[in-house]
């Protein structure tokens, strides 16, 4: 049961996090905002619709959403949640997790190029650019954690971080969290990298790539995006909340609380700053690489 818990939580609560972010932004802006369940309602609405496909597209276009969602589900099976071990755990699973995200991206990008639209290709081009730079930051951050904990698998790596680890290596863990938050914002297309609410196709990254998807395909894409946000968020939360009690309710509650807190923080970041110019995003991601590099320098004993 407890090893199924992380997967079930991810599948059930991922869209909720987006609801919390949207509500936070509304509250900060002085609005009432949409109900917290709006992302679920959107998914149900999309699942009940028909679909329109572009004449230009091939089977790649229909494969994109399917592979994207399947990769995220598999990745969710590799990631622990709070104190709960992942469904599958083996040496090097962190590499597989990162490459499952890459697989999803590969097919999303191809599906975008399949439409022959310049808008979508533009988004695809930005997506591959920024992810190529986010990847080293993510890997160096994970390497810093691996060196700190001496473990090569996500479950022991993330669940053995304890208050005493923080006492030993607070600066390194703090820097790692900093780097991972930048990766989290960039990979999930949030401000300051991408603005999910913008109305101009020319300025988007993720949203413009999926412009031509509709109905159930779009529902799968939205759900996969929510899962990706949950996965990258769960890594940050596992580092930031090191207390474990062996009590199912307490540990589960703490982890869920952490995810909600991360969602609120994301909402506040989105409310308090504008999107960066695309050229600056590169610099932000290089800053993330530098942060995780510094974290590594600090864990060298």
């Amino acid at each position: 049961m407890s090893s199924l818990f992380p997967l079930l939580m991810a599948l059930a609560l991922a869209p909720f996090i987006q609801g919390v972010i949207n509500r936070t932004k509304a509250v900060v802006a002085g609005r009432v905002g949409q109900p917290l369940s709006q992302p679920y309602r959107d998914l149900v609405k999309l699942l009940r619709k028909g679909a329109v496909y572009s004449q230009t597209t091939t089977w790649i276009f229909r494969t994109g959403p399917v592979v994207g969602l399947a990769s995220m589900i598999c990745a969710a099976a590799l990631l622990p949640f709070g104190a709960f071990p992942a469904l599958a755990s083996f040496a090097g699973d962190l590499v597989l997790l990162a490459y499952l995200l890459a697989l999803a991206r590969f097919f999303t990008v191809l599906a975008a190029l399949d439409t022959g639209s310049s808008f979508e290709a533009m988004g695809a081009s930005r997506e591959v650019t920024f992810s190529a730079l986010a990847e080293p930051a993510l890997f160096l951050g994970l390497a810093a954690l691996a060196r700190q904990t001496g473990s090569l698998s996500l479950t022991p790596l993330l669940t053995t971080i304890s208050p005493s680890t923080w006492m030993q290596a607070a600066p390194a863990l703090g820097l790692t969290i900093g780097a991972l938050v930048i990766v989290f914002l960039a990979e999930n297309a949030r401000i300051p990298v991408d603005d999910p609410t913008t109305h101009l196709e020319l300025t988007m990254i993720h949203e413009v790539m999926v412009l031509d998807h509709s109905g159930p395909d779009f529902a799968m894409i939205q759900y996969a995006a929510a899962l990706k946000m949950w996965l990258l968020g769960a890594i940050i939360v596992a580092i930031a909340i090191p207390w474990h009690s062996d009590n199912f309710l307490l540990d589960g509650g703490a982890a869920i609380f952490g995810m909600l807190a991360l969602a609120v923080v994301t909402g506040i970041i989105e409310s308090s700053m504008a999107r960066l110019r695309l050229l600056r995003v590169t610099q932000l991601l290089i800053a993330a690489i530098v942060l995780s590099g510094l974290a590594l320098a600090l864990v060298q004993r």
């Binding site: 619709k49 028909g50 679909a51 329109v52 496909y53 572009s54 004449q55 230009t56 597209t57 091939t58 790649i60 494969t63 399917v66 592979v67 399947a70 598999c74 599958a88 083996f90 040496a91 090097g92 699973d93 590499v95 597989l96 490459y99 890459a102 697989l103 590969f106 191809l110 190029l113 399949d114 022959g116 639209s117 310049s118 808008f119 290709a121 695809a124 081009s125 591959v128 650019t129 992810s131 190529a132 730079l133 986010a134 990847e135 080293p136 890997f139 160096l140 390497a143 691996a146 473990s151 090569l152 412009l211 031509d212 109905g215 159930p216 799968m220 695309l278 590169t282 690489i289 590594l296």
Partner: protein, 508 residues
């Protein structure tokens, strides 16, 4: 290689290849003479560790590195591979550059226990070859030239594995050594499979469209469905994506580096961490490059009449590709068994006992089996999702329409994104390393008539190192023209003078 000898570029590429392989061979002759002198025999089984091992390593690295295409000795490769007919390119890229890796490994076995700095050097070469190779590939407009630069990148990945293995061996960490060498050796095989596949399919594209200019193609998946499918499998495999074979070997190299990074001291872990970050960057850039190659060539709408009229090639031209693609999938799904099969080979290379190696490899095989299992589960989930979608859409309105164009009435295929525009953010970010030349005629006035942009990315190493150096050598030798002028009378005079001098010397 120079089948199409009527083309100036092909002849030039042939010359470059000839010179490069002779330079490589020159170093190898020195290597074998040194080895032979130290051991008193030229038999391979008499070669053993000798005092000047480091010198021998450097000479072997230069000689075999030229064959393999390590940066900066790679300059012949992007000239020679695209110039050859595609099936020859496939063999050159898949097999012949690997002889360099094979030779280097054999010499390292002769030389015995490695020095730590050999590992550092191999990691450094791997990083430069990997990153420079994939960046130059991103900037190319010619499909086969792009693939050729990816060979440089993959040789870099192999060198990273060799470096991690060497450092592990030196540091007394058998796990790092065994997994690093196993990853490098498996990547040799994997690269042969997917790069052979990609060159063969590039040949199909050339056969059908008479063009390899990526920006002149487009929409080929609809016209050449079988070629497109196998190119896609090759592209995903070379980008190191699970569940295909490229991921298995890169996973092993990652695993070796992570193990090294966790267990080595502060200084020792630096090359391991550089390998991890380098592989991550290379992986991201390779995915960018192959989404570009597949997306612009096979997806969207055809950009020219040639691409429009493309037809699928005959069965004989796609069957070899299907066989290679099956190899990519099988190694991906049976990774654990393949890794276990490599035990004798790895034991030979590392000099560790067969039992240690097979124990370590079977431990690793546990991880690899999980990777393959996840890949299998992924395929099942994706199939179920596709079925679910088909059931959900049955009986609902499903229609086709034009791609969303923001209300613009007549978008033409020429307005699509091109390979150059797709890669531009990355080529700009790394512009310092690429030295791309651009000729820009910007649109002017209210009714612009002419506007043009052309970019060319020549090999910076060729341009700024080899070209000036070789020109200087050429100028130096041209001074010999003073004595060799092509006049028979002059040569007879040389003979007479020589004879006279010899006669005088004999008399004196």
């Amino acid at each position: 290689m120079t089948f199409e000898d009527e083309k100036e570029t092909t002849r030039r590429a042939g010359w470059i290849y000839l010179v490069a392989s002779h330079v490589g061979t020159a170093f190898l002759l020195v290597l074998f003479i040194l080895l032979g002198r130290a051991n008193g025999s030229l038999d391979f089984d008499r070669f053993s560790a000798s005092s000047g091992a480091s010198l021998l390593f450097v000479v072997a690295l230069l000689g075999f590195g030229t064959k393999a295409g390590f940066v900066p000795l790679h300059v012949w490769l992007p000239e020679a591979h695209p110039a050859a007919p595609s099936h020859v390119s496939a063999v050159m890229s898949a097999v012949m550059i690997k002889t360099g890796i094979y030779g280097l490994l054999r010499v390292m076995i002769f030389l015995g226990a490695p020095q730590a700095w050999w590992g550092w050097v191999l990691c450094g070469i791997g990083l430069t070859s990997g990153v420079i190779g994939v960046l130059l590939a991103l900037a190319q407009h010619d499909l086969k030239r792009l693939l050729a630069y990816h060979s440089v990148e993959n040789i870099g990945i192999i060198a990273l594995g060799l470096g991690a293995g060497t450092l592990g061996l030196r540091a007394g960490l058998p796990a790092v050594a065994v997994i690093g060498f196993a990853g490098a050796l498996l990547h040799v095989l994997n690269h042969a499979l997917f790069k052979g596949l990609l060159f063969l399919t590039a040949g199909n594209v050339l056969h059908s469209t008479h063009s390899l200019e990526i920006d002149q193609l487009g929409g080929l998946l609809k016209r050449m469905p079988r070629t497109g499918l196998i190119f896609l499998i090759g592209a995903a495999a070379i980008s190191g994506l699970p569940p295909l074979n490229g991921f298995i070997s890169e996973f092993l190299i990652y695993l070796a580096s992570f193990k090294g990074a966790v267990s080595l001291g502060a200084a020792g872990s630096v090359p391991m961490l550089a390998t991890i970050a380098g592989l991550a960057l290379i992986g991201g850039l390779a995915a960018a490059c192959f989404t570009k190659a597949f997306g612009i060539v096979f997806l969207g709408r055809p950009r020219t009449a040639h691409a429009e009229q493309a037809r699928e090639v005959g069965l004989a031209m796609v069957l070899p590709g299907f066989a290679l693609a099956a190899g990519c999938i099988l190694i991906g799904l049976l990774g654990a068994s393949v890794v276990a099969l490599m035990a004798p080979l790895v034991s030979e290379v590392t000099g560790l006992s067969a039992t240690i190696v097979s124990t370590l490899l079977s431990e690793t095989g546990h991880s690899v089996a999980f990777v393959s299992l996840t890949g299998g589960v992924l395929v099942v989930i994706a199939t179920l999702l596709a079925l679910g979608r088909a059931i959900a859409l049955a009986g609902r309105p499903v229609s086709t329409n034009v791609t969303w164009d923001c209300g613009y009435a007549e978008p033409s295929p020429r307005m699509q994104y091109t390979a150059s525009s797709f890669a531009q953010p990355l080529t700009d970010t790394f512009g310092l390393l690429l030295q791309t030349r651009r000729v820009l005629v910007a649109p002017r006035g209210l009714f612009p008539t002419e506007a043009r942009l052309a970019t060319t990315t020549a090999d910076p190493y060729q341009e700024y190192i080899f070209q000036p150096f070789l020109s200087a050598v050429g100028r130096g030798f041209s001074m010999l023209r003073l004595v060799q002028q092509g006049q028979v009378q002059l040569y007879i005079l040389y003979i007479a003078v020589t004879l006279l001098l010899l006669l005088l010397w004999q008399l004196a």
